[in-house]
Symmetry: C2
Subunit: 478 residues, 2 copies
């Protein structure tokens, strides 16, 4: 095995250089290629297939909760972007501006959407008149652009793919309920489909989305102890409704402003999958989103009946599993490494000796364990194994996250943890922006969220020593 490994170009050890390990994996697992467009990535077929599986699952969860898909223009006129004050201040510095159409200078420049609140508001103003028109539960799948100085595939790119939900409701209660509901949809999707445990909580005022009344977030922890904001859900209250004059007539014939939300996850989640589950042999994919769940590698392929048997098993499995056979003339060792790099959950080896015994050898990507199974029960065994791998990946990720979650009672402890054993830090906070700023300046860590599950670690703020209001999660973050 050690020898075979060398057949596929090795990747950097993650303990030695985590950022380089990450870059190696995204390239060598054929997820991404760089393009000649600064800060933009090419998502290759294998990477895109993972994204498609994620989309399919998320989209079905959105539709089950009553949402409908729409498509809005990719351009926003400058005057429209400026309608909500906080929102334009947040986004204007990082948008791409279209100034010319063909040879002609435009009368008003257009920005390429960094997010589409303003477009949805403009549309809602046209189509919402009565309480009968509410709620509007819309979502869109598209790409957005934010001009970034330093970029990394999936984690921070000038253009990225995402979905953005935008909803309008009759009351403040309903918009708050929707905001939390969609945060829970994201958290369940991460846990069940991506096998990634997340912390659910509210962002501090400082970290709130531009224009939002409250922003909720799911935060996950990467292998190197850094946090990743993995999805956000915003309650706008009636702020945008006032700016865009979105009003409806209620049951008593009174004119009211709507209450709105927006929520999104992006291809950033691909980065989370890589950095939560990956190891020094490459990518490790949860079966639920693996484009290939089982790779069949025939051994001694030139021998009578081996190819035929591989084909037969492939046919049998393909009814219930995403299976592929590699019948190329590369060596089995090369193939082992290649599909380990690609994170395929199960390898199935079949050779002349196995055929004699009517068996196959299964190798788990998550543990390396080899299991000999009878060909009689192969389909059932594999389905059970994929299930077990999915669960095991979640458990491993949770153990890792928990083992890297610390508590700090004073700034000395806080800094020691960050420098020696990076991870999440739970600490008490007085609620003042000044302390939040001071901690960030001193340590480089940012407040991740005020978790829904509060604990009372202490009576006083970790920074100023005054009475504590909340327990916060902190971490250095992507």
């Amino acid at each position: 095995m050690a020898n075979d490994k060398k057949l596929v170009a090795a990747i950097t050890d993650m303990e030695q250089d985590f950022p380089q390990w990450y870059t190696d994996v995204v390239k060598k697992a054929d997820l991404v290629d760089y393009s000649s467009v600064k800060g933009c990535m090419i998502i290759r077929p294998y990477g895109y297939a993972i994204w498609e599986l994620m989309q399919k699952e998320l989209d079905s969860r959105f539709k089950k909760t009553g949402h409908e898909n729409v498509y809005m223009p990719m351009f926003i006129p400058e005057s429209l972007l400026q309608k909500e004050k906080d929102h334009v201040e947040g986004f204007a510095p990082e948008v791409a501006w279209v100034t010319h159409g063909g040879d002609n200078e435009l009368q008003e420049r257009l920005c390429v959407r960094p997010t589409s609140e303003t477009l949805f508001c403009d549309h809602y103003k046209n189509i919402i008149h009565s309480y009968r028109d509410l709620p509007k539960l819309y979502n869109q799948w598209c790409s957005v652009v934010r001009w970034e100085k330093t970029t990394r595939p999936f984690l921070r790119t000038t253009e990225f793919l995402w979905q953005e939900g935008h909803t309008a409701h009759a009351t403040a209660e309903e918009s708050e309920e929707e905001t939390i509901k969609m945060l829970n949809v994201y958290a369940d999707f991460c846990a069940q489909t991506l096998a990634i445990p997340v912390i659910k909580g509210e962002k501090t005022a400082k970290e709130r989305f531009a224009g939002a009344k409250s922003t909720y977030t799911i935060e996950s922890l990467m292998h190197d102890g850094k946090a990743l904001q993995s999805g956000t859900s915003h309650n706008f209250g009636d702020g945008f409704a006032h700016a865009f004059e979105i009003q409806y007539t209620d049951q008593n014939n009174e004119l009211k402003y709507v209450h709105q939300t927006s929520w999104g996850v992006s291809t950033r989640l691909m980065g989370a999958i890589i950095m939560v589950h990956g190891d020094n042999s490459g990518l490790v994919l949860p079966p639920a989103i693996a484009p290939i769940q089982v790779i069949i590698v025939p051994i001694a392929m030139h021998k009578d009946g081996v190819k035929e048997k591989a084909f037969e098993i492939n046919e049998k499995l393909s009814k219930s599993v995403r299976v592929k056979s590699d019948l190329t003339d590369k060596s089995p060792g090369w193939k082992f490494s290649e599909y380990e790099m690609k994170g395929v959950p199960v390898r199935l080896e079949i050779g002349p000796k196995d055929i004699e015994k009517n068996q196959a050898v299964l190798v788990r990507r998550d543990t390396g364990e080899k299991i000999t199974v009878s060909l009689e029960n192969i389909e059932k065994e594999i389905l059970a194994l994929l299930d077990e791998i999915q669960k095991n990946l979640y458990e491993k990720a949770k153990q890792n996250r928990d083992s890297k979650t610390y508590t700090a009672k004073n700034m000395e402890e806080f800094e020691k943890i960050l420098n020696e054993t990076p991870g999440f830090i739970k600490a008490m906070w007085c609620g003042d922006r000044a302390c939040e700023d001071a901690i960030k300046e001193k340590t480089g860590a940012t407040s991740r969220c005020i978790p829904f599950e509060q604990e009372k670690l202490d009576d006083v703020c970790v920074c100023c020593g005054k009475k504590a209001k909340h327990m916060l999660y902190w971490g250095r973050a992507y």
Copy 2:
């Protein structure tokens, strides 16, 4: 019925004003809304649901023919766009230019992709080295931008949604085979899924795609006798490969240029569906792409057991059919008109008398026919009926197309047809650009294609009287 109609705002008669009828349908059927972004449309949930069903079917056909999805950046640096001379000349006049990122002017301006040949070439150059890397069969779903002066929803908009296939092959034979194969995929999809018959053929040199060696097209005929180019497939030969230096080492260790294709269909097909099948009551949708295939309208909904029965039938049908029940307090007449406008293939009426007799009334959108069926066999009956409607729509469209296809032997006949009975005109052509230009100038008709199924109508060109080379299809077009 005539009385109920008035409950829903009427649309313009298609015989009186076809363009206004079209605009009325796209608005009143809730397909599209206008946006404050010039030339860009909002695709509303009902319109987008149709597009999603089209995508699903096309995507499965692409995957069955071995294609993989990828995602390329939406921006193209000006220098990259300029690499292939004909291509840049074709597209530069109609692209949107990004000149600023945030507050900074870009060193090189970027165009928003009008099509992605240059990006795919740039990527292929990086990833194709050996004959083992071929063929590359890629596709992408995205939006593109072409700066248009006059726009109409779905038919011509500044931004539109589409798919673009881009493939690279070892030989000229293989790229030609791919080009034709994908044209056939489009034609079959139009016939079987959209119930739209198309003419398959090759574009003349004048109408060829910028940079292509040959362009193939599918052409359909709208209700008003105008043609619509409904999909194209291009063979680039090795032209782009030379411009971008895309070479591979063949089995004999010789360096060769690849041969490439591209092919695309867009939301323009939504326009075809409207204008091929629609009538004076609104949209008429082929069941294969109808978001709602059966709408259940309860009659005398306040009577005991009516709502419950509607719910029961809905539950039963929902296993095999896209079904919805309208239980709102609007009148049955209003609902009849509303779902006729939306083109729902089958309306199911259920009232107290029907329940007594254990039956329901089905009303076909395509013919208006009422059919009483027993609730015993309702699922089977509806599946058969949807099938019949799908076939009938195709037959009706084909009969209409055929009845509006004429032959012209001289320019007098040619002009008479165009002015009195617009439709496709078949006419012989010498093959000279001069005649093609002259006919267009004189009549406003453009050459649609040199159809694969040639007929010999005459020995001489309809325009100059010299020896004819091909039979051409002509028409005024969208």
